[in-house]
């Protein structure tokens, strides 16, 4: 039997690869997931393929994330260096949008599979196994005789009810409770300017860009995950878990809860994502009480009127505030990101966003810059305005005014170690908050309101420290004085000191929770363990000199 290697990140179970693997297995191929989370995984990943008894018929590489594409392309180069001569294809959001450039620059690649590729990949493997032509398979991009990319027609989007469920492996665990992702839908109905997911689904028009699975199918998959892998915590990775109509959303949540009850599934928890406009008291009460939601990422992104327009969020500041109010009233742990810097950001926008973070400081948050992703309206706009630097692997741009650009560079000089990478405290502290929720949900005997309050206070302290530091930087820029390097050095040192204290308390708290629960490890430890020191390093271009 021919085997297929599917290479991609696996910090969590990689649903896209695992759906592809399921379709390949159903078609009679052997499929192996090859985890490649970073350079540390290179030897094992290479050995799995190049050291195999017989080479795979095809190596499929996930290029979903533009910012990780160089790593995966380097992997392919390394794989060729070790002598692999079989077919290499890439797929995912970034590969779909950058297919022509990738095939032009990387002779190591044979093809690109565009869009949702279950059918495309199966057809490609069948053709390769039979020695047949594959270049015209819907979804495939290949090189023509002149070396330029030739695009076969787009594939039809799959019927979610007919796809085999994703193959499963060993799950992540928190206090020994299995955690695994799933989706109840594919697609996105929104049209944010910075988001390649919306742009990706736009490509499939006039087909449906947002498709739902039947609640009974979702519940059956959850029950199977409980039976097979002991999953207690179901992480819904839907781009839109909620329908853009509160009545219909409410009905769908009830239908899913009814179906789960019918499956006999008890004592579980869910994790979801929401747009701010989704968060209403009625819908979220059902989400918490019937679907056991313990964590919700709310896509705030910006609270500035300017930012809401630039990013085309289809939302208002009042909805952001309502989302926080509803979460607070329900005692639901939510977290959010703020895209503090976009191409039109003003210092007034920054002030508005800082006010919002302060308002919501009892919930973990992170902030960063809007990056320019392939296929997005924002990239097209900045290219038209002549504001982009770089190339398709990494675009860069200056912010809208010298003052905002200066503020951004100062902010990055101080905050890169706190904000970016899995080890960054702004990310790991979310793991600590998750631990608290797991204990509250599954181990009421070990739950202690004082410990819970201490954990919340810790994340509040970090959030308010970020706000205070950013306000100092803002005042400095508005004051017009020099000495940026000295200020960045002083505030960085202070920020690292605060992080050291918060991290130490966080680890103490995690240890205390672990002792009270008496089984497994907290997620806080996992967040620390998967990280590397390099993830805390400030890129040279973001350092500030006096």
């Amino acid at each position: 039997m021919d085997w297929i290697a599917l290479v991609g990140p696996e910090q969590e179970e990689n649903l896209s690869l695992r759906y592809l693997a399921a379709s390949l297995i159903e078609a009679g191929f052997e499929a192996r997931i090859v985890a490649f989370n970073g350079a540390d995984d290179f030897p094992a990943a290479i050995a799995t393929i190049a050291g195999a008894e017989r080479p795979p018929l095809l190596v499929g590489v996930s290029l979903a994330f533009q910012w990780r594409a160089p790593d995966f392309l380097a992997f392919v180069m390394g794989l060729r260096e070790t002598g692999y001569r079989g077919h290499v294809t890439v797929g995912g959001h970034f590969a779909t949008f950058a297919a022509a450039e990738l095939l032009r620059d990387f002779a190591e690649l044979d093809s690109v599979c565009r869009q949702e590729a279950e059918a495309t990949l199966v057809s490609l493997c069948r053709a390769l196994a039979a020695g047949a032509a594959w270049q015209e398979i819907p979804g495939v991009v290949a090189r023509g005789g002149d070396g330029a990319a030739r695009f076969a027609p787009m594939p039809e989007v799959p019927d979610l009810g007919l796809l085999p469920p994703p193959v499963r492996g060993e799950p992540a665990r928190c206090f020994d409770h299995g955690i695994a992702p799933l989706v109840s839908s594919r697609g996105c109905y929104a049209n944010c300017t910075f988001c390649c997911i919306a742009a990706w689904h736009e490509q499939t028009l006039p087909g449906k860009r947002y498709r739902l699975r039947e609640p009974a199918d979702v519940a059956a998959e959850m029950a199977a995950m409980r039976r097979g892998q002991g999953i207690d915590i179901f992480v819904f990775h839907d781009d839109n878990f909620f329908i853009p109509n509160h009545g219909k959303s409410l009905a769908r949540l009830h239908a899913l809860a009814d179906a789960i009850e019918a499956e006999g599934l008890r004592d579980f928890a869910t994790v979801v994502k929401a747009r701010p406009g989704d968060v209403t008291p009625e819908v979220f009460r059902v989400l918490v009480e019937r679907l056991g939601c313990i964590r919700c990422y709310v896509g705030i992104e910006t609270d500035a009127d300017q930012g809401l327009v630039t990013l085309r969020r289809w939302g208002r500041s009042s909805q952001n505030h309502r989302a926080i109010d509803v979460a607070r009233a329900l005692g639901l742990f939510v977290c959010f990101n703020i895209l503090m810097f976009d191409p039109d950001t003003t210092l007034a926008s920054v002030r508005r966003n800082l006010e919002f973070v302060e308002y919501a400081a009892d919930f973990p948050f992170n902030f960063g810059r809007v990056e320019l992703y392939a296929g997005t309206p924002l990239l097209a706009r900045l290219q038209a305005e002549g504001r982009c630097r770089g190339d398709y692997l990494q675009w860069d741009y200056d912010l809208g005014s010298p003052d905002v650009q200066r503020f951004y560079q100062l902010a990055m000089a101080c905050f890169v170690p706190r904000n970016f990478g899995e080890a960054a405290l702004a990310n790991t502290i979310q793991g600590m908050r998750f631990d608290l929720e797991i204990v509250r949900r599954f181990h009421p005997d070990a739950h202690d309101e004082r410990v819970y309050a201490a954990g919340r206070a810790l994340s509040r302290r970090l959030a308010l420290d970020s706000v205070a530091t950013l306000r100092e930087l803002l005042a400095h820029v508005e004051g017009g004085a020099g000495g940026d390097g000295a200020l960045a050095a002083r505030l960085s040192a202070r920020a690292r000191a605060v992080e050291g204290e918060v991290r130490a308390e966080m680890l103490d708290l995690a240890a205390a929770l672990g002792a009270r629960v008496g089984r497994g490890l907290p997620l806080t430890y996992l967040g620390d363990r998967v990280a590397t020191p390099l993830q805390r390093a400030v890129p040279p271009e973001l350092e500030v000199t006096p």
Partner: protein
């Protein structure tokens, strides 16, 4: 691998500027670094892979596997640590620490941790074999600006021997650092 699975937060990408090189050149540099790392692992899998296949010609030729490490009773005593870069433009300089032992090759760096005073930026193993070769490991650390000494530790192995070496780099003014081996 399952032991490393976790629940990922919604990560924001680190803002970065593109390099001056072409996409292909940047990717090739990454590939080269990973292949060099593979060649240095001396794992059965790595050795087998690299022994069977000769260069595809995509990336620079894979360097030969490292020579056997020294057979000295305590192989770690001969390593010297010193700062090698001094900046004089008034900016806060990185600490660029070279660990060297000329004539002896085969040390493997298992990990580098900065425990106080700074943040690790990168570790480059520039060791070379052949005539004039030797151990040459360069560690770059950004100081935290507090002026306190930078403490860091390096996990080293040499053949079957392993050791964690502790060092302290203290700024001495003028952009230089004095590096002390703490054992």
């Amino acid at each position: 691998m399952s032991g490393r699975k976790t629940l990922l937060p919604e990560l924001l990408p680190t803002p970065r500027s593109p390099g001056a090189e072409t996409p292909r050149a940047r990717v090739a540099a990454r590939a080269r670094a990973m292949l060099e790392r593979l060649s240095g692992l001396k794992t059965a899998a790595g050795a087998a892979v690299l022994a069977v296949h000769c260069g595809y010609g995509v990336v620079d030729p894979v360097p030969p596997p490292p020579a056997h490490c020294t057979a000295n009773g305590d192989p770690f005593t001969g390593i010297t640590a010193e700062n090698i870069v001094v900046t004089v433009d008034g900016s806060i300089p990185d600490a660029t620490i070279k660990l060297w032992n000329y004539g002896v090759v085969g040390y493997q760096v298992g990990g580098v941790r900065v425990t106080a005073g700074g943040t690790l930026v990168r570790v480059d193993d520039l060791s070379s074999t052949g005539s004039g070769g030797g151990t040459d490991i360069v560690i770059t650390i950004v100081p935290d600006g507090s002026g306190t000494p930078i403490d860091f530790e390096v996990d080293l192995s040499c053949g079957g021997a392993t050791s964690t070496e502790h060092y302290r780099a203290t700024a001495t003014g003028g952009g230089d650092y004095t590096v002390v081996d703490l054992g």
